[in-house]
Structures are given as C-alpha cells and as structure tokens.
Amino acid sequence: MILEALIAFTFLAALVVLLAPDAWAGRLAFALSAVPFAGSLYAWSQFDGAGNALTGGTIAFESQFEWIEVGGRSVSWFVGLDGISLPLVVLTTFLVPLAIVSAWTPIDTRQSQFYGLMLFMEANLLGVFTALDFFLWFVFWEAVLVPMYFLIGVWGGPRRKYAAIKFFVYTNAASLLMFIGFMSLVFALGDSVSSFALPEITAAIANGGLGEWFGIAPGTVALGAFLAMFAGFAVKVPVVPVHTWLPDAHVEAPTPVSVLLAGVLLKMGTYALLRYNFTMLPNQASALAIPIAAIAVISVIYGAMLALAQKDLKRIVAYSSVSSMGYVILGLVVFTEYGVGGATFQMVAHGLISGLMFMAVGVVYNATHTRMVGDMAGMADRMPITVGILVAGAFGYMGLPLMAGFAGEFFIFVGAFGAPSLPYAPAFTALAMFGIVIVAGYLLSAMQKTLFGPFRLETDYEVGRAPVHDVAPLAVLLAAIIVLGVAPDVFFEMIRDAAIPVVEGVSADV
C-alpha cells in the first residue's frame, strides 16, 4: 500500500498547499514534499522486485483492484515498481522538494496556487511511473499536462501563453496518436486479453496473441501501433523533428518548472518508449533499428548544433536536453544490457544534471535579470559559489567521469558499439559520441563569456551573492550527481535486473 499512500499523500498535500496562505505556502510545500521523498527512500529500502514488471518479473509493492469494466476488459487500479520505475520515482520525489526551494526567490505571486500545482504534478508523475494498467497510466499521463500548462501559462515569461498552448496542443496531439496506436493493439489482441493490465498485454503479444483487426494482418497492426506510439512518445522525449515545443516551453517557464520539465517530464517520454515500444513490441523495434538509431544520432548532433547557436543560457540548456535524450533512444534501440540499462540510468542522470543546470542558470538570472550571453561577463567574481557549482554541473553535462552523466553515457556507448541487433552499430555509436565534443564546445564558450573575464553587467543595483536557499539545492543536486557517478551501481544494479528481460525479448526471435 505504500505506493497508494505516496500518491494519495501527495494529492492531499497539493490540496492543503492550495488552500494555504501565500506567505508560507512555499515553506509548507517544501515540508510536505519531503514526506514523499522519505516515502520513496523507504520504498527503496524495502524494494524486493526482480526482473521486469511487464515481462513476468516480481513486482514490488504490487497492488491491484478491479475498478470498472470497459468493453469486456477490466480496468483496474494496478500499481507496482520494478528496477526501472523505482529510480524514476526516487528521482521525482527528490527533485520536487529541491525545485520547490528554488522557487522561493523567483515566484512572488499566487504562491499557494503555484506550489499546489507543483505537488499536484508530482502526484500525477508518481502515478505515471507506478501505474501498470493502461487506463490508469493514461489518466495520470494526461493529468500531468494540466498543472504543467498552468505553471507555464500563469507564471511564465512574456510569451508564456504561446508556449503553454504550444506545449499542450503538441503533446496532447501526440497523446491521441499514441492512444490510437495502443488501442489498435488491444483490439487486435481480441479475446486473448481480459484487461488493460500491461503485464498481461505484454505476455499476450509475446505469445502471439495478435490477430487480424479489420482485415489488417497482425504484423501490420503491430508495426502501425509501434509507429503511432513511437511518434506519440517521441514528442514528449522530444526527438528531432518534433522537438520545437521544448525550447519555447523552457524559455518561458519559470526556473522550478523547467527543472521538473527537463528533469522528470521528458523522462515520461523515454520511460513510455521503453515500456510500450521496446518492451511490448521488441521485434518491431528491432526491425526498425536503423531508422530509430538514425533519429537518435540526428537528435544528438542536431540538438547539440542548435545549442551551439543559442545566445540565451536557458535555451542552450534546453537544446542540450534534446541532445542528451538522443543518447537514451540510442541506448534503447540497441537491445543490450548496457544499452537499455544505460538509457534508463541516463534518464536519472540527465534528470539530476539538467535540473542542476536549469536551477543554477535560474540563480544567476535572479541576480542579473537577463539570460543573454552577451549581457553579462565575469559573474564568477560576484557569485563564486553559485558559479563554482554551475561549472561543476556543466562538466557533469559534458560527461566528466565520476559524475552521473558519464556513467549513463558510457553505459550506452559501450552497450551500443558492439550491439548485434543494430546493423552498423559501431558507426552509429561513434557518430553519436561526437556529441561529447560539441557539448563541451557550447558549454565552455558560454561559460567563458558569461562567468569569466572582467565583471560586466549593466544594472542599477549591486549584484551580490545568492541567498543560501537558492544555493543549497544546487549543492544537494551536485552531491547526488557525484554519488551516482562514483557508485552508479546503487541504481544500475536494479536497472540492469529489469532491463535484461527487455533485451531477451528481442534476442529470442532474432
């Protein structure tokens, strides 16, 4: 019942904060958000899952209640964790309190609503990562969009409405596509499934339960479903060419919202890809390995080139997310232990690192009120600790060893290079790896221009050090990044355990 408690508490907390006075909503939200984090740590300590939740592994904290029946198939409240979802749950509950603290300085209107929505989003995110029934999952999946939409649309920058609507329409259209794709699978499975439970559907597909659907051959249905779901999730990740909502959303979103958007929301896309596309339909994924790998490589290199062209610090970090998520796609498509495991690890690592980068850029912005590279120089002189952590975070983004990003990227690379199921794997891998040079190029030059050299910033006030509550979350994140970089096995061991069945799903047929 711990997962129910976790989700229910977070919903309640959202409600309480929503009704609290603005003056101390931020403090209250932080205090309340610490509880789900503690809860997820407890869940981690009690974790007894083994294997993959979808492929018949032991599901930790499994709980299932019949809910309603739709078209002869039961919809149930069905939640549980495995080695892939637990790290993402921990990531979510870890990032939200930090994001809340980072909001104390920049958010100065309608605080109770802001923090309430943040917690409401957290509750739904926890639902996304724990739900094992399609309908339940889909409700959470869609419900995440609502608080996000408001958080950008109300507290965002000058073009917040454009960005919020673009975000909502774009991702909602994608959801529709994905929904149709999944439903076609369910229909084609016919009587071989009696519920929307993901493990049951996965098993039915693996056992050849797909039948004809409106006269379409099973193989074609599977392929069509794969493509529809891939396109739908690709928007969320996002991969090139459906990435353009991301920079707009990030630039307009306030810092704490960007932290969660980059840190957790993007992982919904890769998580769903892993669960639906790569676990349920591994053979379709494998058949499409070359185009998918090509998309991954293009996302890495093209995303990095776009980051190189930006003049706004936040846009730079936003585009580099596109690049980093490309690595995740590459890791997934190679179907090796290190590839799929590394992709999952990279989700967590990128969540922490991009969270840190957005937060640190936000702290600088609080002081400068500009994010344009040309407007400032020598910030290290005025904000030494913030800049020190920002530099460390940037090196983390560049994949400096003994930081989490390197671990994730290296696992993916080493898993991808010799992958038997992807033709030309060494070439794809080597091309994608060139991203590590470009990322160093744009981050180092942006840092050189803004952080170093003689101090320059036109203001009518004195730029001083950031308050402790701005810097503390940065330090906490940096520490987490280093811990995961030095000892990746704290997560990687369980991730691997859940990733191996995914890998075996394809190698059985190839």
Partner: protein
Amino acid sequence: MVNAFAYVPAVVLLPFVSFLVALGAGRYLPKGGAFGGIAATAGSFLLSVWVAATVAGGRAYNETVYTWAGGDQFELTFGLLVDPLSALMLVIVTLVALLVHVFSLGYMNDEGETGLPRYYAGLGLFTASMLGFVVADNLLMAFMFFELVGLCSYLLIGFHFREPGPPSAAKKAFLVTRFGDYFFLVGVVAVFATFGTAAFAGDGSFPALAEAALEGSADVWTPGGLELGTWLTVVGLLVLGGVVGKSAQFPLHTWLPDAMEGPTPVSALIHAATMVAAGVYLVARMYGFYALTPTTLGVIAFIGGFTALFAATMGVVKDELKQVLAYSTISQYGYMMLALGAGGYVAAVFHLTTHAFFKALLFLGAGSVIIAMHHNEDMWDMGGLKSKLPVTYYTFLAGSLALAGIFPFAGFWSKDEVLYEALVHGLNDPLLLGGYLMGLLAVPVTAFYTFRMVFLTFHGDPRTETARDPEPVRWNVKGPLMVLGTLAVGTGLINMVPVQKVFGLEGIDYLHRWLDNEWGGIAGLSSHHYADIGPYSSGYLVGGETGTVLVGAAVSLGLALAGLGLAWRFYNVASPTEHTAALGGIKDVLYNNYYLDELQVWIAYRTADIAGGADTFDQGIIDGVVNGISSVSLAGGGRIRRIQTGVVSEYAAMLTLGLIALLVVLGVGGGWFL
C-alpha cells in the same frame, strides 16, 4: 610484514584529501592550504618510494579494488596495477608535485596572489587525478582519470579568471584535448566490444587477448567482418587520439602554448609530470597492444619525429621565456613518441623521466626569473641576470644543457637512446628512418633555441631597470631548483647504455633491467616481451653495434654543439639583437605557429556558422511547419474562434472534455459498450 601495496590507494587519496581540505577550509588555514598540499604530496612521495622499493624487492601488484558497475557482458571496475613502470612514474609524479607545491609558496603566496585555497585545491586534485591515472589497471579507469586531469588543467590554466586571457586558454586546452579524447573514448568502447575487458595486465587482459587472437588461439569480435589486424590498428589509432591531444602532438598541440596563461608552477606540473606526460605514459602502459600493430607504431613514430622538429622550429623565434619552454615541451614529447613508435620502449620511459626533471627545473627556473622580473616574461627585457640570481642561473643552465642534449647531462643520455633506437630500427624501415632524420634535425634547433633563451635571459648587459635590480627569491624557490638541478645533471646515470656497450660494462643499464622485470614485475609487461612481439629488427652502420652507438652519439652531440655554438655567436654578446629578420617571411610563419591557430579558429567559426544555419532551419522550417499546421487549422474553422476566449482554464476544460468525448467515441466505435 606491512605491505606497501596496501598503501597505494593512499598515494592517490592523500592529494585528494588535500584538495578537499583546501577547498573546504583553505581560507582558514595558514598559506591558503599550502602546507596541507605539501604534507600530502610529501606523504605520497614517501609512500611511492616505499612502493618502488617493494617492486625492486621482486613484487608487483595487480588487483581489482572496486566494481564501478557490474554486468553480465563485462564488469566495469577500478583496480591498481603496480609494476616497474607505474612505480617509477609514481615516484616522478609525487616528487615533481611536491617540489611544485613548495615552489608555489614562493611564487603564489609570497607574491600576494588571491584565491590561494582554489589554487591549492586545484593542485591537489591535479596530482590525485594523475596518480589515479598512473596506477589504473584498465583502460576505462585510465580514461576516467585522464579526463579528470583535463578538468584540473582547465581549472588551473584558468586560475586568473578575472582576466580575459586565462579563461580563453583554459577553454582551448579542454576543448582541444576533448577532441582527442573523443577518439580515445571510442577506442575504449571498441576495446570493450572487441575483447570484453579493458584490463592492461594478466592473461585475460586485452593486449594478451589481442596477441592470442593474432596467433589464432583466441576469438574476438570485429565489426562487420573486418580483418583482425586492420581492426586492431583502428583501435590503436583511436586510443592514440587521446594521446595526441594530451601530449600535445601535431596537430592537437595548439592548446599547450596558450596554456602558459596558467601560473608558472602549474605549467611545470602540467609539462613535467601530469597532463602532457599522461599521453605518452598511456602508450607505454599499453605497449603490449601497440607493439602488435606495426602501422600504429609507424604512425606514432612519424607523428613524434615530425612534432619534435616542427615544434622546435617555432621555439626559435619566441620572445617570451615560457613560450620557448612550451614549444620545447611539445618537441620533447615528440621524441618520446618517436621512441615508442620505433620500438624503443625503455628509451621513451627514460626520456620521460629525465624530461620530467629537467623540464620541471626549467619551468621553476623560469618562474624564479619571472618573480625577479616582476612578472615580465619578455626575454628582450632581461639580460645579465646571471650575477643577480646565481642559484637560478646555474640550475637553469643545468636544465638547459640537459634539454639541449649536451654530454653528460641527463637529457643527452635519454635523447641519444631515443635516436639510437630510431636509427637501428629505422635502417630496416624507411618510414622510421624519416622519423629519425626529423628527430635528428631537431637536435641543433633545440640546442639553438635553448641557448638563445639562456643567453638572452642571463648573459649580456641588463636591458631594463627591472633586470638591473631584480627581486630576490627565497629558499622556497631555490630549494626545489637545487633538487631538480641535481637530478637534471645526474639522472642519466640510471641508464648508461652507450657506456655499457662501448666499454662492455655489464649491468649499468639499470632502467632497462628495471623495465625488463629483472627485479620484479608482471609477466607480459616487460621490455623483452614488447621487443619479442614488436615488428622491428635492428640494423647497424659500419662497426656493428658499438660503431653505430658511437657514430649516432657523435652526430647528435655534434649537431647539438653546432646549434649551441650558433646561439653563442648570435646572442652571447653584451647587447644582442634580433637575428630573425634574416629568416624573412619564414619568421612570420614561425612566429604565428604556421597559422595553425588561425586554422582552428576558422574551423570553430565555420562550426558556429553551421550551427547558426541549423538554428535558422529549425526556427524557420521545422517550427514553421508546426506553427503553419496550427494556423491553417485555426483559420479553417472560423467559428471555433468564438471559443478562443483567452481564458486559460476554459481551454483546459475544453481539452479535458475533448479527451472524454474521444474516449466515448472510441469506446462506441470499438464496441465496448455493446
């Protein structure tokens, strides 16, 4: 009995602790944390000596100590590999780091620098990273510390971050070496994919597996059915990318002269014992692999020989003391690469050792001059410092004689052996002979620029007020200089191969015996083994081996003396003048480093242009299509405008309603409610 190997982690961790202490509490400590750094490196040095003595006692150590990430395919681990090579390197690195720490008291603290905790934290981390790299037992761990070394160089080169120059130089250093490291990382990944392990030593190590696979007694993965030998060459060249970057070999040498923006003691550390040495050390560490791929060896030798000559020519026209030294570093590492490529494993390690001492000496000597000159580095503003700074002068002279390769200073012995190896193996291999000739040609150039530097700085009449009345330096500067001066004179004694060959004195080639596991070591990591699996055979000139030794030494010494003589003729006068005008247009080319920096800047700008084009494409085409679709659909439904109220909550309600409607439609269509 207490086991020295149990303390190997402490060798690495002591400087790391000094990093933490300086970073966290440096500002509350006397001298900004300097004493912590000195104590830590001194401790590491003593432990390293003990470790080396234990290796000399016939033991070696090769253990996995930490599993970084487990896996069924292969495990990614950290381990320690202590054999004669790494033990020697530990002693060199810790000794130079210790002396640099002591010297920094004079160069940084006495000069009133700010930010000292950050400085000493950087030095500590730099030393720790390098030591971690040295003891690494596998290629992945080596790569990780290799990158950390790069980070530290970034932090220390950019130490004076409030000025415009150092941050730019730091960026360039990291970026250029990162470019090389990209190839290295691909190489690491390829090694894992090919062999399933990246261990350096033991029966299951990748050099051993490569050897077995070439003999046909083991099976390894190659991509796309590529021929094994070709693939191993590709892997070797990929790893070499990292070496070329870090060891500043052509064409990735451009970061190194710029790196002179860092504080001078840092330059000493980078050039003598850490970052630049890391590249060459890596080739030596996995020499059992390189020896299997003749093409790679040829490339290494050629790059080395070319870089030795190429960098030396640029050193001839520089005006600033540290710039001359920077180009000499590039050139000297070229010699080491030449030796490695020519099968002269011991010669390379020998030159690495002597160079570490004499180059650290020269940089610290230059630092002493810079203190005396109130941080003016232009040699044309100096002159006549010989009488004012006698300790600096005589130690600097010893270092210069070693650098120029003058008998009997340390550099003579090691450079002579490098050239000898290239010659005897090159007599059967034209490409290698080309490398040898370039290396030989660099000898007089080296002697010339070295003594041009010495004469301009210390001889003649003082050319400025500062040079007439230089600032005195203290014990913390003189002490390290004297230690290193002694080593620059005497290190040649560890490997008197020519003397042995000419006079038949058996057993005085101590370094050869050391690296051949004569006292102890790990099977498969010995110079004999490398020679056995290597592709080279020796050829001799007239007079057989002895004759070739004598002729080779005489030629290189003669050329060095000729270069020295020319410098004497031009610059050892009361008021020297620039003679570079005689070079005409060549001078500009040399002074501008063959315009390679401009080329790299051009590449950077073109990359930025491409990025700008991509951005325009992204905003205009891709996002344009997205916005176009949405505006078409909006325009198409004019009536829908009525619901465009602009109230955010109504939109959300609408979208939620839409979703429900969709579910209903799908449900009815799918026959769920029937």
